[in-house]
Each structure stands twice: as structure tokens, then as C-alpha cells.
């Protein structure tokens, strides 16, 4: 714990006062995922077959494209927060904390960008 003084907070041992926002965003994206992933798996289950033409044709339609782009944003936001909390619980060394900080602040953004670009390539008809 910090000792309540300014220097205690500077040493990074006090509250960052970001907990409530983190907590609320986790809940908000949870509800979003409940809707989006349910839409995704029900839609996929109802496809007549899983050939390239059928699946790509489905993704290219406006509603699935929008849902998939939102999924790329919402799931990676939610996963990033959950993985961050998990790492905070189990990683105690300073080096490990820096590595974890880099992981949760870089990988999800690269991954989501790749996912969004892939959906756009399909939706806009590129190859």
C-alpha cells in the first residue's frame, strides 16, 4: 500500500482511481458479447452449409458485417480486461508486470485491427 502521501502514489502503490471504469466497462462489454456472440453462433448454426461461397456470402451481408466488426471491438476489449485482471492476480515480479502490461496493451489492438480489416475485405468485395 502507499502511505497516503504524494510520494506513496508516485511509487505506484496507491489507487489509480480507474477501478470503477474498468468494472463498468467489463459489464457493458459483457452484455454486448451476450448479444453479439449469440447472434454469431445462431446465424452460423442456421447456415445451409459451410462452403466458402455460403460463408463468405453471409459475412458480406450488411448486418453480419456490422456484427462482426462490433465483435472484433467488443470481444477484444472484454478479453483484454479479463486477461489483465488474471495477470494482475498471478504475476508479482516487476519484469513480469512490464511484460504483462505490454501484452494487454498491444496484442488485443493488433488482433482486433486484423479482424476488422478481414471483415472489410470480405464486405467490400476485395480479395
Amino acid at each position: 500500500m502507499g502511505n497516503g502521501t504524494s510520494i506513496g502514489r508516485v511509487r505506484g502503490l496507491g489507487s489509480s482511481h480507474e477501478g470503477t471504469h474498468h468494472w463498468l466497462t467489463a459489464r457493458l462489454t459483457a452484455v454486448g458479447n451476450l448479444v453479439l456472440i449469440t447472434f454469431l453462433i445462431v446465424s452460423l448454426a442456421l447456415l445451409p452449409d459451410y462452403t466458402y461461397a455460403t460463408v463468405r456470402g453471409w459475412v458480406a451481408r450488411p448486418l453480419p458485417s456490422i456484427a462482426l466488426i462490433l465483435i472484433m471491438i467488443n470481444t477484444f476489449t472484454h478479453a483484454r480486461m479479463g486477461v489483465q485482471v488474471m495477470l494482475e492476480d498471478y504475476i508479482h515480479g516487476e519484469g513480469g508486470k512490464v511484460a504483462a502490461w505490454l501484452l494487454v496493451n498491444i496484442v488485443p489492438f493488433v488482433a482486433a485491427a486484423f479482424g476488422i480489416l478481414s471483415v472489410l475485405r470480405i464486405a467490400l468485395g476485395g480479395a
Binding site: N3, G8, I41, V55, R56, V83, L117, V119
Partner: protein
């Protein structure tokens, strides 16, 4: 005066507590969540990336994760793929159900001992039944 840094206290870990449904569901929530985050989202990106890259990439994705058509390595990964996909569907249903349980706990309901135990068990019952029905629908229709 600033205090000398000392080791932070750690809460007692798994082996200290007597297992109960609430504890099991809490652990499962973390395990399934991280499974979905790494394996689930990884597979989602592979799928959408392959779909964007063309018919050959998509066929390769299907062969490695499901059909095993190319033989050799693909036979092994396709077997693994089926286990992972069924596991991920269960993980989603379990994480979703215990996530809803958490939302209800967040509004201050469901803390009575019997209610807490009942709803913890209900999330597991739901996830198993939902997984069976989902795959029955996919494979038998």
C-alpha cells in the same frame, strides 16, 4: 516517514478452502474466459482471415480444424480441432451463464446460501445441456 517495502500479503489459495459450487463456478469463469480469450479469439481471427484470403485459405482452415482431408498432420489437428471447438462452445455457454449470474450478484441479489448454491449449479447444468443441444443441432439436422 516512508515505510520500508515489504512483501504484499497473498490471499489463501485453492487448497485452503473446502470446495463448493460457488467456488467451482468462480474458477470456471476465469478458466473459460481465458480459454475463450486465447483459443477462441485466435480461432475467430484464423477463420475470418482465411475467409478474407480466398477459397484455398478457407479450405486449409477447414482441413486443419475439422476435416483432416490432407492426412498426416491435418488428421491430428482436425481431431484436436473438434475437441477445441466443442470445448470452446461449452466454455462460451459456461462463461455466459456465470457472467449473467455475476450481473445478478452485482445488483445485490442471490447471496443467500441456498440460492447462491442453486444458481451456481444451474450455470453448469445449463452449459452442458446447451453444448449437447448445439452440437446435436449442428450434426444431426
Amino acid at each position: 516517514m516512508a515505510q520500508a517495502p515489504k512483501p504484499r500479503p497473498l490471499s489463501p489459495h485453492l487448497q485452503i478452502w473446502r470446495w463448493g459450487p460457488g467456488m467451482l463456478v468462480s474458477i470456471l469463469h476465469r478458466v473459460t474466459g481465458n480459454g475463450l480469450a486465447f483459443a477462441g479469439l485466435g480461432l475467430l481471427l484464423w477463420w475470418i482471415g482465411a475467409l478474407a484470403s480466398g477459397p484455398e485459405s478457407y479450405q486449409s482452415f477447414l482441413d486443419y480444424t475439422w476435416t483432416g482431408a490432407g492426412g498426416g498432420l491435418q488428421t491430428a489437428t482436425a481431431l484436436l480441432g473438434k475437441v477445441v471447438l466443442v470445448g470452446l462452445s461449452w466454455a462460451f455457454f459456461q462463461h455466459a451463464a456465470s457472467g449473467v449470474r455475476h450481473l445478478i450478484l452485482d445488483i445485490g441479489a442471490g447471496y443467500e446460501l441456498t440460492a447462491n448454491k442453486t444458481w451456481s449449479i444451474a450455470t453448469i447444468v445449463f452449459s452442458v445441456i446447451a453444448t449437447v443441444l448445439f452440437w446435436a443441432f449442428l450434426l444431426l439436422r
